[in-house]
Structure formats: structure tokens, C-alpha cells
Amino acid sequence: MESLTQAIKIVPLNHYILLSAIIFSIGVIGVLIRRNAIVVFMSVELMLNAVNLLLTVFSVYSNDPNGQVFVFFIMALAAAEIAIGLAIIVMIHRNTNSIDVDILNRLKW
């Protein structure tokens, strides 16, 4: 463990921010270009995880455990969000026989 933590000592903070920005943008692109509701949902997960990583990095950077506690709360929230979202997707599939997000632009079926 000690040797692993030695390994990050040379990585600048900007590179972590860059990594999170790239993964967040990939999530945004995924939401914009896919029509499958489950893949759109997974892109949202990708964005949440990018933010989680950045919060952890800032927590280590400023030596403050509050950031990691926030990440814990975000994970609990993401679990609740996934349960509800997937239940809604199952309900949509039962009513329309499709999970294409483009059918859902009328707010009724």
C-alpha cells in the first residue's frame, strides 16, 4: 500500500481534473447520441463517477475527509436513483414494448 501511494506523488492535480472532464464529456456525448434508455442511464452513471473521482482527489489534495464522505452519500443516492430509474424503464417497456427514448416525447401513450 505504501509503495502504491508513492506512485501518485508525481501526478499533478490538473491531470486528474483533465481525466474527470474527459470522462464527464464522454457521458454527455453518450446521453446525446444514444436512443436506448438503458445506455442513456449508463452514461449518467459515467458522469456521476467522474465527479466522484474528482471529489476524492480534492479530498486527498486538501487533506480533508469531508470530500470522501460526500462521495459515500453520492453513492447511496446513485443506488436509489438506479432502482427507481430501472423500475420506470421496465414500466415503459411494458406499456410501449420499446425503450426508445424518442417515443417518450408526448408524455402519454
Binding site: L4, A7, V11, I23, Q68
Partner: protein, 168 residues
């Protein structure tokens, strides 16, 4: 130093594969690998508690839930109708300009300090537990109510009501 860049490269590669894979089941599998690389990032930052929680909750629970829903809906064979190439290009341009904006804002910063772990026990279960149960006790309890209501809501939404409603 190089291990971080290698893992970061893998994270970006597999998250690109998540959004560009044709088959949604492959997307879920790539997402599992992406989350595994995030777990390695947490271990590199010595955030042991978050690494374990990320491993158990994300890779264990959430992605299994995705796979179960996909199995229930039987989405494996029928490919989704793809969006037109123009809409895709507009989406990629939109996300790309977001990335360019973020990177340009990053360029405005001064040269950054390296991320140095000052306190080795920062991310340990003991340290985080002390903070969680003293400073953040109320949000912790509220999040338990959130999880309970999410469970009730999911059961309510996903059960099929095929019998007519009985009015009391």
C-alpha cells in the same frame, strides 16, 4: 507515475466503448471494466473505504441490476433504431465543445501542485467512520429514509397491476 496514466488511458478507452458499443449487454460489461479502473484510481489515492464501496455497490449491485433488467426485457437481439448521422454529429460536437470549454478553463489555472497524500489514514474506514457518525449523522439517517422510499417506490412502479382496482 506511469501507472496512473496507464489506468487513466484504460478508463477513457472503456468509457468510450460503453457509449459506442452496439449491443447494450456489451455496454454493461464495458461499464463494469470502467468502474473497475475507477476502483484502482481510489486505491492509488489510498481511499480504501471508497475503493471497497465502489467495488461492492457499483460493480456488485448496480451493474447486476442493469444486467437483470436487460435480461428481463430481452433486449439482446433487437438492435435499437439508431439516430441519424446528423443528430449524432451534433451530439458529439456538443459534448466536444463542453470538453474544450472545461480544458480551456483549466489552462487558465496556474501550474498545479502534485497530489500528495499528507495523512496516510485519510481514507481509512476508521477515520471516515468518525467523521460520518459525528459531523454527518443527520444526513446519514436521512439517506436511510431515502433508500427506504426508493425501495418502496421501485416495488410500486415495477409490480404489474392487472387486476382492477378495488375501491374501498
Amino acid at each position: 507515475m506511469s501507472i496512473f496514466y496507464f489506468i487513466a488511458f484504460l478508463s477513457i478507452l472503456f468509457s468510450l466503448l460503453v457509449i459506442f458499443a452496439k449491443n447494450p449487454v456489451h455496454s454493461v460489461l464495458y461499464l463494469i471494466i470502467t468502474f473497475f479502473t475507477f476502483t484502482i484510481h481510489y486505491i492509488l489515492l489510498n481511499a480504501q473505504f471508497l475503493a471497497i464501496v465502489n467495488f461492492i455497490v457499483y460493480m456488485g449491485a448496480i451493474l447486476v441490476l442493469f444486467l437483470f433488467v436487460m435480461m428481463m426485457l430481452n433486449l439482446n437481439k433487437d438492435a435499437e433504431p439508431t439516430k441519424s448521422i446528423y443528430v449524432k454529429m451534433i451530439g458529439v460536437i456538443g459534448g466536444g465543445s463542453l470538453l474544450v470549454t472545461l480544458v480551456a478553463a483549466l489552462k487558465g489555472l496556474a501550474k498545479s501542485q502534485p497530489v500528495v497524500l499528507q495523512n496516510v489514514n485519510l481514507g481509512s474506514v476508521q477515520n471516515l467512520g468518525k467523521v460520518l457518525f459525528s459531523e454527518f449523522l443527520l444526513p446519514f439517517e436521512v439517506s436511510s429514509i431515502l433508500l427506504l422510499s426508493a425501495m418502496v417506490g421501485a416495488v410500486l412502479l415495477a409490480t404489474r397491476d392487472n387486476k382492477p382496482k378495488v375501491t374501498v
